[in-house]
């Protein structure tokens, strides 16, 4: 029984900050009451693994501007409601812009005139690569988890003692791609028992002074990952520096299409250059993403910012910490 062991191990430790990187983990942790079940000195902190949340205001505003200028666009349904500086993609659509919300990138495979707004990490990148392979132009906001973790581990604003690593990113990149960050790291699935087991493994390591990367999602995550997915990513994307909401510019942490003709940022640079963007007043999503504050510490949370009327990206997505905390606030 992991919870009993967790309680035992916690008595041997001081205050411990464990970050769950993935929004899917935050969802499972909060919904299953795991955070509340933790001993007082074990803090579970939500991290930057929400695709919609780490997408920058500039990237969102550029996409909205492109659509308002008559270029048909498509993106994941989650992205549609994220507030831009002037309006969301949803509001732009109400103003006549041609914007398609999709569950899967395959829904626009035959739509050569549409620009796909690709967001997310290694889990959604192979799907966008499939579009590039089929000559569909892409505006890429794709980001890479390993350099993101490296940046997070050296960020002075947060103090992380251990990481619960994202299970499905690990499916794609494999166990071997995670960088050594000098803290315990455990690749974890999404079932509550699996998460509790990972917390136990982390505390065990901390008690023994170990700092290892452990795969606790066996049978799903392999050492080398999904080779086919890696191949299609490498064939169609090149690694570039990228801006992350909350973390700023991280070297070699983003992806752009290799083919300039399919890179919407180059193809439509005149329209995109005229985009007006500024951070949303009062929204503290950037601090929530890196675990610097909890959602409830934002003055907008639950008052003017709700899932029905989101004022920031973290309140829109089901992987956003604000949305998850709000949905489970009782």
């Amino acid at each position: 029984m992991s919870l009993k062991k967790i309680n035992e191990l916690a008595t041997k430790l001081g205050s411990v900050n464990i970050m769950e990187v993935c929004g899917g983990h935050t969802n499972s942790i909060i919904r299953n009451g795991i955070r509340d079940a933790m001993p007082k000195n074990i803090n579970l902190i939500s991290g930057p693994g929400c695709p919609v949340c780490v997408t920058t205001q500039k990237e969102i505003d550029e996409m909205i501007n492109l659509a308002l200028n008559g270029v048909p666009v498509a993106t994941y349904a989650d992205m549609i409601r994220v507030p831009g500086t002037k309006m969301s993609l949803e509001e732009a659509r109400e103003n006549g812009a041609d914007i398609k919300a999709v569950y899967s990138a395959t829904e626009v495979l035959d739509d050569k005139n549409r620009v796909f707004f690709g967001i997310g990490f290694e889990t959604t990148t192979p799907m966008t690569a499939k579009l590039l392979e089929n000559d569909i132009a892409v505006y890429s906001a794709h980001k890479l988890i390993p350099p993101g973790l490296l940046a997070l581990s050296t960020d002075k604003r947060v103090n992380i003692d251990a990481l619960i690593l994202p299970g499905h990113v690990a499916v794609i990149i494999g166990e071997q791609e995670f960088p050594d960050l000098n803290v315990p790291q455990v690749i974890t699935g999404f079932e509550p028992e699996n998460i509790l087991e990972s917390i136990k493994i982390i505390l065990d390591q901390l008690v023994e002074g170990k700092k290892e990367i452990v795969n606790n999602y066996k049978g799903v995550v392999t050492k080398t990952g999904n080779g086919k997915a890696q191949k299609i990513i490498n064939e169609n994307f090149k690694v570039v520096d990228s801006d992350w909401r909350g973390l700023g510019t991280i070297p070699s942490s983003g992806l752009e299409p290799k083919d300039d003709n399919l890179n919407a940022k180059i193809k439509y640079k005149d329209i995109l250059g005229k985009t007006i963007t500024k951070e949303l007043p009062g929204c503290r999503c950037a601090e929530v993403i890196i675990g610097q504050i909890r959602p409830s510490e934002c003055q907008l949370f639950g008052k003017v910012c709700t899932p029905k009327n989101p004022r920031g990206a973290c309140m829109v997505s089901e992987e956003g910490a604000c949305q998850i905390y709000h949905a489970n606030r009782n």
Binding site: R31, S104, A105, G120, T123, M127, I172, F190, G219, V220
Partner: protein
């Protein structure tokens, strides 16, 4: 977007496959994996991203069902 759902392959047609997850029949893309009929896979944004063993798949489906039951109860 990151929570992948396990499903069982019912029918294969080139890069596409008909799958069953929790009784819902869907067509998904299988070009990122090597699969055969009856295999369990993880689906992510309309693509199979990994084959998984049956025990792991059934365990995840049961957990997802628990989630839904809790959500229904809370509504």
């Amino acid at each position: 977007m990151c929570l992948a759902i396990p499903a069982k392959i019912l029918e294969i047609n080139g890069d596409d496959a008909k799958v069953d997850y929790g009784g819902i029949i869907k067509t998904i893309n299988i070009s990122l994996v090597e699969v055969k009929m009856g295999d369990y896979i993880l689906i992510h944004a309309g693509f199979a991203i990994q084959t998984i063993n049956k025990d792991e798949a059934v365990k995840t489906l049961e957990t997802l069902q628990e989630f839904e039951d809790v959500i229904k109860k809370n509504k």
